[in-house]
Symmetry: D3
Subunit: 296 residues, 6 copies
């Protein structure tokens, strides 16, 4: 159950309106790594977690916090748009080049569709979509997804920090940066504990028996490019991070005789009307025979 | 530049057709964590990498390999569909319940649109889309994204392994599992080296000065739920993984007076026709005045 | 700010697993009119509301409740999937036709991607996307959007009620039906009060002066079909619901000489390489002249 | 059957080109509430209507009119783009700030992909998509969806009216505003008649017996926020608009013991490789036993 | 302007309901090459055509016909669903395997969202989207797009013809096949006339001067694969279809020294926080200098 | 299998940065007819081709080349962004109108998400999606799709050529134009050979017996518009391009009595809660009877 409290987690008030920047902030609301993504991702991870206790509690708590981050950003956007120009005439632009920048750089749907308000979209106007969400039920994989999300998110906030000099906006971003720092550390700590406790190990999923995979290929650094430096890294020799295998370097992909991409496939039905090597006779005889055999 | 070689990286031939399983394999081709995603993700990371040498070479190499994985899977799907039934009559189902399963469980577009072939879609028929791709230019964040992608991918292959008993399909999956094992290890090794060399550290991006973030919140485990066990993990006390901060636990979000979600915003333009606390007089007088002031 | 409470709003436990039905329930989670839609819609309406007080409070409250509905449904789906079959062999189907139904009718991504869990998608596997959300800043329009959402939602729950005889599932649906009843009534009551108080009236937006619209067309029921019964309804004669106009019926669209769809447009730039009535001479002379005139 | 007539419903000629405004007009063509949406929505409602006569005729007629509105807008956009600048050089911008505005604010695909023409997209360039369409077969719900669509549409036209001072554009918008006025009234009149005739009543769907819903919750205004004013509206006390229930106000969500979000789920298959409370032993023993029991 | 006529272009009545087939028919309504696509494509081509007369008239006429095809198919789907089963119990499946097939193979949203009606989606439930539409303003390119659309469409209808033995459905498909035959021929005829009249020639766009392209590469069949048979076709030697060039065959891509994918880029701003070869010192000194130089 | 070579196919270096143009170039990377589309389309056509030899080899080769084109464009974009301004202050715009143009016209996600890098999106920021791909298994249809793709692609490159005067960018575009010229010719040559060899003929699919279609409609140019010039083209009289039929012109669609769009459908289940002509009695009696009859 979610409950709403009307106080914001942090102050979210700009010094002055800036409709161009309002568009950019949309990335943190409805972008691939915006706050809606993490709020939804942690929620679905919590609902899909099969193990009660601290991990599930952590997921629920962080999910709720992230919904509150959406709220602060949406509140900020509404204020950045308070004096957003609605239209533009040629004269106005001639007088004041700033207006030209504003006209070109705003999210016009924030005006036309939302009436000077935030929208669940990214900085290019793409609607948020659930294809961004990861929730596999495997906590080590999912916590790694979360570390990534918090890293990408903190990078984007840091970039946006330098795209404004509004002290009020920076005040909020400085708070979000701090929380991203915490959440990066949090998911790393959780991932490490999962491994330390043996609940999940590398390679993920650790419960799948490696004996069933083709282990001769499990630690081969095969070079599919002609770049000369691939052999120079710790992924090409030495022990693998999973503590099990030892990396070897294969400079070019071996010529295998195990299969060819250019082999012909033989669709049983002539009635798919694909181009095959059967002569192009209407309702191909061979096909008709096959059809009969397959009782279609 | 990409060059094509007609040999497959590994054998990709099923024992017998299975149109229901062909649909499931689509997840590995065009799903969120399918081979198209990693091929495109590593490609864009390589093109966006600002630093020449081993990391860029590694990205190009792995990207090329993943395109070859798409090829093996597409080849497999085409063969699984070779005898796909095209239609269904009531009698056929009455005779043979297997037919019913097949009819219900196939990807009908593999028949109608591709003529018994693979498609760049996932197992629910959603077209692959580039919103799955991550390439930020920050290599530690992106390698973490890659570790996640390889973990999620290996989990999905492992699940699919148990959804068939076709030895030919399992042969290919066993190979893909091995390569996922390698790539999980590879990106982990690369991420560790980046940190060891000081090229990038935690929290990401390490080059943004932490003095600019609100550091009092940077290591606070604030509980936004009423779950009782959140304090029990290593994210609530002790040193943070970044080696900088020390976690503290805050059992409930502090009541802050710093901002309220229910405050009124004041759009300068009455002509957005939103509902405001100005009386609803046509072309609201107050608004008209504001408009004049803003010379619109 | 959003806070999470670990108790569910209502019991969400099925009598027994049913993976086919789990797919159907996804519609209520991530469909066009699922609970994610209304939770996000009411949230953005609250953040975009420019008027403090009861309407904003109502929006925040209802938004929070709807997030809790997502939670109950996701919890239900996880349990419906607890014994979901993972794969299928031909023998199993021959033995038991139920298996065939299950195989065909499940959401395979609930297994492959979520490991037997709920996903933020609809019953056809389409990811939820923010194009479903409406938040214009005009409360009468938005409350009407909400009435519609609650009507569509209640219809879908009612349909799903008859697609199962699991008493546990029906228990939850009976609760959701009741809440949809309340919310339908709630938004209707709010919309009526807005109008009664004069804050917003018909036609929406009431603050746009009707004198600026072509009022001769404002109450004309023009028939663009050859259906004979369009004149029979209260939209073709009598007073209009806005209390302002009087409907008249126009049996066929008048032949207007005011514009033609087949007129030629004259792109100034030959360099768009469209097909025009200028002769097809390379870098068309006329075009080059135009270009010079336009100083490009 | 649809027939095309080459006269436009209304004049659609701008005074002069304006590529920036052409982008904005796209919202009315391919936006969430643009003319394509209503044309398609009314068409599918007509095809899904199970009852012949005036409602079906009305839907067909209005659908056809809306396709004609797309045509007028597309014709207008083509003319607004007639002299669209194709490229931009630094010098041109230095000379004339207007050019800067134009460059920044145009839809570049109108030039690159359409060669100075309209596109089936919105003002942010998102392709129109059928997720915007509502057609449930329940006419009271669908007519309410239509009232909402006409309200949102009229708001957007009114906003766009003030974003230009081109008399030709405003001439067309004044016509569209009038038709939106009519259609708002039309769907309201139709919705009222449906209710007056008893064909459908509140709560929708009225044919589902309320005795099957948990009626104790059907008229409860439960406050999930700490906003103080939710009790002040007509949704918190007094008779509900459906004429059946009486609202009561519940200031905080009751603590229910009926279910918990943090309960463990128990996936029967260890082979989903999720993290569970079974010890992480390869091919978990308990799981293997379960598998055997379920004969997978 | 579009006008609706209530007679269908052709009979659209099945012999008996078939909810599984109803799902498949959705491909012809809302698929990539369904009737909505061609109706919208021809409409936008007409609106973007800069040349009045027969081509524009042809586009308008065919667009209108295709909308009528959507109507016949939607009418057909509604009837195929008339007796669609709503739910399913285990007993029912045990009794009747047909039910299993039906349950698995239907589009569940046709039931849940549309109440037994057609939807603007494809056979996998993906909403139709305008990314399918092509309208460039260049008529030779667009007519070629149309030939392709009619070919793909006719293939799909032909495939669907063999997926049913319902005489009523086949009656409609036989009509659609005939119209696809006509439209294939029609667009081919139009494309040929465009070329014969010199309005547009090969290569498209013919008005772009070939002297500006690197003509040494304009007729080279370069082999980027190791397939041995690429040299065997008429694209590798002899005159090119445009009547201008002569094909030559290049067996492997030349090693060019003109550029390298692994070169380093040098983002001027350290504040993008990407990984560069500048040492990872907080707010990198070099970067700060650059920033000053660029007056940011 | 795909192998990567670090040399580019052609030089891809601009004279100077231009962030506005970088956005436009995205159309050639991730647009509907960008290089990702053709690379993926030719790949899937190769994998779905059922006939070994020259056609399959040609598809693999061209697919590989197109991936290399993505690489050149992505490399170009990264360099165009090297000095991209990150933020903007009011003063900067007042000083320099060029900055205003840049701010408005850039793809802000290239900065925020990619850190000054290319993205798999189009020039309006829409993520690339696989709905653009065509691969039917019928080679004549697919080669026609390819001719269209190369025509649309060459038009877009030609338009973009005139949107810059950067000699480095034009150098690359001049190369791409040449390759598009070749590929247009290549697919035309391949399509002609398919027909000449009898492997596939018109109308596609030629293997479907025309006797099964309603041949009386197969060559009728029926006018669904009131445009007067439709009869003037070679599609209205004379022999059809397939060499089989003879066109006839039908000036208006015949009034057919074969079906009506306004007929009532009769959903068997009252429990879909649609509006029907059965009186609105709770759990409609007639419906209940029907339900019993259908043993649901």
């Amino acid at each position: 159950m979610l409950l709403h409290r009307q106080t914001l987690q942090h102050r979210a008030t700009p010094e002055k309106p800036d409709a161009v920047y309002a568009r950019k902030l949309q990335e943190l609301i409805g972008g691939q790594y915006g706050e809606i993504t993490v709020a939804m991702q942690y929620s679905f991870q919590a609902w899909n977690a099969h193990i009660p206790g601290k991990y599930k509690d952590l997921l629920f708590s962080t999910a709720a916090e992230e919904f509150g981050h959406v709220e602060m950003l949406a509140t900020m956007v509404a204020q950045l748009l308070e004096k957003a120009p609605q239209g533009i005439t040629e004269e106005a632009v001639q007088d004041d080049p700033t207006v030209a920048a504003v006209v070109g750089g705003t999210d016009v749907q924030e005006a036309i569709a939302a009436g000077a308000g935030a929208r669940p979209t990214d900085s290019n106007g793409n609607p948020w979509q659930a294809g961004y969400v990861t929730a596999s039920g495997n906590l080590l994989a999912d916590f790694t997804a979360n570390v990534n999300a918090e890293m990408q998110g903190r990078i984007q906030v840091a970039r946006l920090y330098h795209m404004t000099d509004d002290a009020g906006v920076r005040e909020l971003l400085a708070f979000l940066l701090a929380r991203d720092t915490h959440h990066q550390n949090q998911w790393l700590a959780a991932a490490r504990e999962l491994q330390a406790s043996g609940a999940e190990e590398l390679p993920v999923p650790s419960n799948f028996p490696q004996s069933k995979e083709h282990q001769e290929y499990s630690y081969q650094a095969i070079n599919f490019s002609d770049g000369e430096h691939m052999a120079d890294g710790p992924w090409a020799s030495g022990p693998a991070p999973d503590g099990i295998g030892e990396f070897t370097y294969i400079p070019t992909p071996p010529e295998s005789a195990r299969g060819r991409a250019d082999a012909a496939s033989h669709p049983a039905r002539c009635r798919f009307y694909g181009t095959t090597d059967v002569p192009n006779v209407v309702e191909k005889t061979a096909g008709a025979v096959q059809d009969r055999l397959h009782r279609e």
